[in-house]
């Protein structure tokens, strides 16, 4: 009934950072050659170094490099790639790019452009789901273009409301708003952010559901009509409406709700003739009801926790499905084993309003040991660019049950050493120790101002004293360094500085 699987040989990975590394790993395991692309600032990035081929595609600004369809297609042609994997973010949910890849005679590692288009607009996907009888959160279905209409709708639904980018994801262009004045100001900012992040400034309004959790279902569909789900993830721990900690399975989901939710997710995938890996997101309210939020037509950042509890490698599955292979397992072959947690390690300062903290990493040591996985794209000496997303790595931990998983995650966080930039590692340790998190009693409002205040005045007197002593000793070393070995210290390569430093056991200026 359909064509036999194609033989892939060389995959263009149209992304950067840790997700590019993740995809390259899957390709390498499958014996596929890889083609990396990099902007000016990413020449030294790991993805550009580990791929079989690497092509420069322009300046740092994503709009002139990673978002340039023409440049990516040119690299695909010049490199002889036969497939394109978009990763997540950038062009991963851009139907025009998917279509252009197909038109160039290449394999698109993702769903058909028609499915991306149907689900890519949050307003359109909500229309489709409403038509299919799936519950959705009260709000507008059409994008809102004018201020007068915006105010009318917000007052109809009643504050608080959520303002969201129609083409959005990852919390960009999304704001909770309490009154008319805030709404008008947020409208301008959200549209501007949405235009910059997604090239589309359409926004819509939604009722804010009380005590919500964010629960999502992973699905896989092949090109031959088979669709399976790989259970759910709970992604309720968020800052700025962006996920920071995820766990699988959801610790509070009754089995009958899981059954209903996964069935709806499969329906959603079928409704748009989905292929590949996708995620159907729901708001799970405090009253036990769940509402369709959106479908993400790509791999998710948090996909590894599903891999950990099911044993299915989703990136490999994407490549095999894209090549036309029928699914090699059925729903009955899948089950949940143990528990998994992911912490997104961001280059940002949780003690200072999660402000981005780009800069040079001077020391980097990842945790290892039993059941600890780190997907990262950085190393000691790497400068985290300010042009891109601040996520530098993902810590993924498996345990036989939730308690063991939390204890192991905390252990791994203790081992995780990053010097030179601030990161969210200490924040995650506070999450792992939080009574509400331990009891699995939390919502998307978990991170409160009080939680953050406790974070910044935490730290024992003993630890503060040890830090002060370390600083004083480092300062003494710096002040007493012999003059001759210090010449031209600001220039020179990181390599030379590190060498000198190792040799002298002293600290650089």
């Amino acid at each position: 009934m359909s064509t036999p699987p194609k033989k892939l040989r060389r995959v263009l990975v149209a992304n950067r950072g840790e997700i590019a590394v993740r995809v390259i790993r899957a390709c390498q395991e499958l014996g596929l050659e890889t083609v990396a692309v990099y902007s000016d600032v990413d020449r030294d990035a790991i993805h550009a170094r580990m791929a079989t081929y690497a092509f420069h595609i322009g300046p740092n600004v994503a709009a002139e490099s990673y978002l340039r369809v023409d440049k990516l297609l040119d690299v695909a042609a010049r490199s002889g790639a036969d497939a394109v994997h978009p990763g997540y973010g950038f062009l991963s949910e851009n139907a025009g790019f998917a279509q252009a890849v197909l038109d160039a005679g290449l394999v698109w590692v993702g769903p058909p452009p028609s499915a991306i288009e149907a689900m890519g607009s949050k307003t359109r996907s909500r229309q489709i789901m409403r038509a299919a009888g799936v519950p959705v959160v009260p709000g507008t279905v059409e994008p809102i273009l004018e201020e007068a209409e915006l105010l009318r709708v917000a007052n109809d639904i009643g504050y608080p409301v959520m303002l969201k980018a129609a083409a959005g994801g990852g919390g960009k262009g999304m704001r909770r708003v309490e009154n008319d004045k805030e709404l008008l100001r947020a409208f301008t900012a959200a549209r501007s952010e949405a235009a910059k992040a997604f090239g589309d400034d359409a926004v819509y309004l939604e009722k804010f559901v009380v005590r919500p959790r964010h629960v999502e279902v992973q699905i896989l569909a092949d090109a031959h009509g088979a669709v399976v789900h790989l259970f759910e993830r709970d992604c309720s721990i968020q800052r700025r409406h962006q996920k920071v900690v995820e766990e699988a399975p959801c610790p509070v989901l009754p089995q009958e709700t899981r059954d209903a939710m996964t069935a709806v997710a499969i329906e959603a995938a079928r409704a748009v003739a989905y292929e590949g890996a996708g995620t159907v997101e729901f708001l799970y309210g405090g009253d036990g009801n769940f509402y369709f939020l959106e479908m993400n037509t790509r791999l998710q950042v948090e996909h590894p926790i599903t891999e950990m509890i099911t044993g299915v490698d989703l990136a490999r599955a994407q490549l095999r499905i894209a090549a036309g292979e029928p699914l090699w397992f059925t729903q009955d072959d899948l089950s949940i084993t143990g528990h998994a947690i992911e912490c997104r390690i961001y280059a940002e300062d949780p003690e200072n309003g999660f402000l981005p903290a780009p800069g040079t990493i001077t020391r980097y040591r990842e945790p290892t040991g039993p059941w600890v996985r780190v997907d990262s794209g950085v190393y000691a000496g790497f400068t985290v660019p300010l042009e891109y997303d601040p996520m530098i790595a993902k810590l993924v931990v498996w345990g036989q049950n939730r308690q063991e998983c939390i204890e192991r995650t905390d252990r791994a966080l203790r081992e995780y050493k990053v010097t030179g930039i601030r990161t969210s590692i200490g924040f995650f340790r506070a999450v792992m120790a939080d009574p509400g998190f331990l009891a699995a009693d939390y919502t998307t409002g978990f991170i409160t101002p009080a939680f953050l205040d406790a974070l910044s005045d935490g730290g024992s007197e003993q630890a503060r004293e040890a830090a002060a002593i370390a600083a004083a000793i480092a300062q003494f070393e710096k002040d007493h360094k012999a003059a001759p070995s210090r010449g031209g210290d600001e220039g020179g390569s990181a390599w030379k500085r590190a060498g000198r430093w190792r040799g002298t056991h002293r600290f650089p200026r």
Binding site: K172, R185, A189, S192, E193, K196, A197, R240, A347, E348, D349, E351, L355, P356, P358, T362, R363, A380, L386, Y388, D389, P390, L413, R414, Y416, K417, T419, G420, I421, R422, T423, G426, R429, D457, G458, G459, E461, A463, R464, E465, A466, A467, A468, I469, A470, A471, A472, I473, A474, Q475, F476, K478, D479, H480, A498, W501, R502, R506, F507, R509
Partner: protein, 171 residues
């Protein structure tokens, strides 16, 4: 050698000297002198053994001292050599001097020199790592200086805007 080290709101006076055994003698404030074994086994790392406790500190230099990460937390340690500090002139611009604590790109500037602002009024928008951040006025006052323009890339610590509080005659 004695340093004034400030960690958050806690100020330490720390005397550090190398001792004959190759370790360190450290005295905090008026406390007893302690022997500390401090080594740098790898770049940017100081391993401290104090008494029986082992601490591992990561150290990154900053303009005014060191950023120290220890037990999963980051501590900004401002270090001052009191003898040098005595030579420097004091003086600060106070609450009306607005700086950025992160590197970023100026997207928009909404105020001009001479404009009157109220606390909470938007002043400018900074973008870093794809997020727009609105900077608002911390006090009521008059814009005395705008140090940046749209399109400009900024380092952390860059001056943005100076607001002078209003004189009573103007209020």
């Amino acid at each position: 050698m004695t340093y004034d080290v400030t960690v958050g709101e806690r100020a330490f006076s720390i005397r550090v000297d190398r001792d004959k055994a190759g370790g360190w003698t450290v005295q905090i404030d008026d406390g007893p002198a302690r022997h500390i074994d401090a080594r740098s086994p790898e770049p940017s790392v100081l391993s401290l053994v104090m008494g029986d406790r082992s601490y591992e500190a990561g150290l990154a230099p900053r303009d005014d001292g060191w950023e120290v990460d220890l037990l999963g937390r980051a501590y900004h340690c401002a270090v001052v050599d009191p003898r040098r500090a005595a030579l420097k002139l004091g003086g600060g611009a106070g609450a009306g001097a607005i700086k950025t604590s992160m590197p970023g790109l100026v997207v928009r500037v909404m105020v001009e020199e001479g404009a009157l602002v109220e606390e909470g009024d938007p002043l400018l928008v900074l973008e870093a790592m794809k997020m727009e951040n609105e900077i608002t006025a911390p006090i009521d006052g008059r814009i005395a200086a705008v140090h940046v323009a749209a399109g400009e890339s900024l380092e952390a610590g860059a001056k943005l805007i100076q607001i002078d509080p209003l004189d009573e005659t103007e209020a």
